[in-house]
């Protein structure tokens, strides 16, 4: 439904931030995530950061999958 990409915040201004996607940079709006801070990862859609990526949850997902893999292998 919409392209969204994880991008790292490398500079924060009042209403905008510069993000880096593996070396490619872009200025995006942060009106939807005013709490964002340097080094956060955000999902960018059409020039706006929509969400801050929570690494804990991401790791938990992977953990869950790994367990499934191991369960199966076991």
């Amino acid at each position: 439904m919409c392209v969204g990409v994880p991008a790292k915040i490398i500079k924060v201004d009042e209403y905008s931030a510069v993000v880096d996607v593996m070396g490619s940079k872009m200025t995006v709006g942060i009106i939807f995530i005013p709490e964002v801070k340097l080094d956060d990862y955000v999902i960018v859609h059409a020039g706006q950061a929509m969400s801050i990526v929570d690494e804990e949850y991401a790791k938990a997902s992977i953990e869950e999958w790994r367990k499934m893999v191991n369960d199966r292998d076991a």
Binding site: M1, G4, I31, M50, S51, V53, A58
Partner: protein, 369 residues
């Protein structure tokens, strides 16, 4: 972080999940006598399951039905004609997402208007269109605002910018769509067997998990919010089948690292501030009450529909079956024109040209001939 996210496309994990799904799907078939039918509501999911091969790999085990989640594809032909007509003036600059430029109108597409000398520009962000308006004060700049709930708040940001900075030559032609009304419509009509829903990863950023509770409460259909990488898709499908086997419908947020259960409050507020519900016409379905958003009356000065006198006639009926495809009634291959008269170079319907269209996905990713 990147290392973590990369694992979402890990081949090992994905292969393992595939096997798990096959097993669960087997259990399902045993129990219910047929394969489980899941609908990807979201066009990006349609694209992702095709592009990664998930759809092919699960063929015969899990039925993946493409839903109405491609915003270009669901746009009514008359709306598309109106947007193209809007471009037919030397006084205007039409700004659009890349997705719209090749969509066929009754007579031609935006790109043909551009070839003929109209000023049609592809922008990445709607705010870029406001900047273009500031740089071209002697032209009317119109942004074509299409999209579902992920994109709508972004459109609101552009409206806010134009309004705050008093950019009087900017306006927006809005035909946005909402997820809930179309899902209700599909589930109410029941023409297509949908056992569970893969819920959109990005729309859900805005809407959150709780929003979907009506699916469970009113339709007893389970849903899993998931992302777009192979492992995410597969685990979403796995969880969906698990829920179906348990016969205990529930909404699962399997995209928690991105989607908050309550959604994004700021984005929701922005939507409320700049938009109001309206009836919207959906391709092949007709008008659905309160199924879209248009610019609030308070900001009517930014509404291209009131600024320009555009009257698109009744579109010429074609044999394109996009309408049925977006409702999940038929797969693209069942359209007689598919890959014959209708190809990405010569698209007959929007589903063949939109980057999220089911026909485009089938043509590009599933077809080997």
């Amino acid at each position: 972080m990147i290392e973590t996210l990369k694992q979402f496309s890990s081949s090992t994990i994905s292969q393992a999940l595939l096997k798990q799904i096959e097993q669960k799907a087997g259990e399902y078939k045993e129990k219910f006598g047929r394969e489980p039918a899941l609908m990807e509501v979201c066009g990006s999911h349609t694209m992702a399951v095709a592009k990664t091969g998930v759809k092919k790999l699960l063929a015969g085990k899990v039925k993946l039905i493409s839903g109405p989640g491609c915003p270009v594809c669901v746009t009514d032909q008359k709306s598309i004609d109106a947007m193209i007509q809007l471009a037919e003036s030397d006084e205007r600059i039409i700004c659009t997402f890349g997705d719209m430029v090749r969509v066929p109108g009754t007579n031609r597409a935006l790109i043909d208007a551009k070839t003929d000398g109209r000023d049609v520009r592809v922008v990445y962000s709607p705010c870029d269109a406001v900047e273009i308006a500031k740089e071209n004060p002697d032209k009317q700049v119109v942004f074509l605002g299409i999209g579902f709930e992920t994109t709508i708040p972004v459109l609101a940001v552009a409206l806010k910018k134009a309004d705050d900075e008093r950019v009087t030559n900017f306006s927006m032609w809005v035909t946005t769509k909402l997820v809930e009304p179309i899902l209700r419509k599909l589930l109410n009509e029941g023409d297509v067997q949908v056992d569970g829903l893969l819920l959109p990863g990005h729309v859900s950023i805005v809407l959150g998990k709780y929003h979907y509770q009506y699916l469970v409460d009113e339709y007893r259909v389970p849903g899993v919010i998931c992302g777009f990488e192979p492992a995410e898709l597969l685990s979403g499908i796995y969880k969906s089948i698990e829920l179906l086997l348990n016969e205990n419908p529930e909404i699962i947020n399997s995209h928690q690292h991105v989607v908050r259960d309550e959604g994004n409050r700021q984005a929701q507020l922005m939507i409320d501030q700049y938009f109001q519900v309206c009836d919207e016409a959906w391709r092949g379905i007709g008008v659905i009450e309160n199924s879209g958003l248009d610019i609030r009356d308070q900001f009517i000065h930014l509404n291209a529909k009131s600024r320009f006198d555009i009257k698109a006639g009744e579109p010429k009926p074609t044999r394109c079956r996009c309408g049925e495809i977006i409702r999940g009634l038929i797969p693209p291959e069942e359209c007689n024109l598919f890959a014959k008269a209708c190809t990405p170079v010569n698209p007959i319907g929007p589903c063949m040209v939109s980057s999220e269209g089911s026909c485009a996905a089938s043509y590009q990713y599933l077809r080997e001939e």
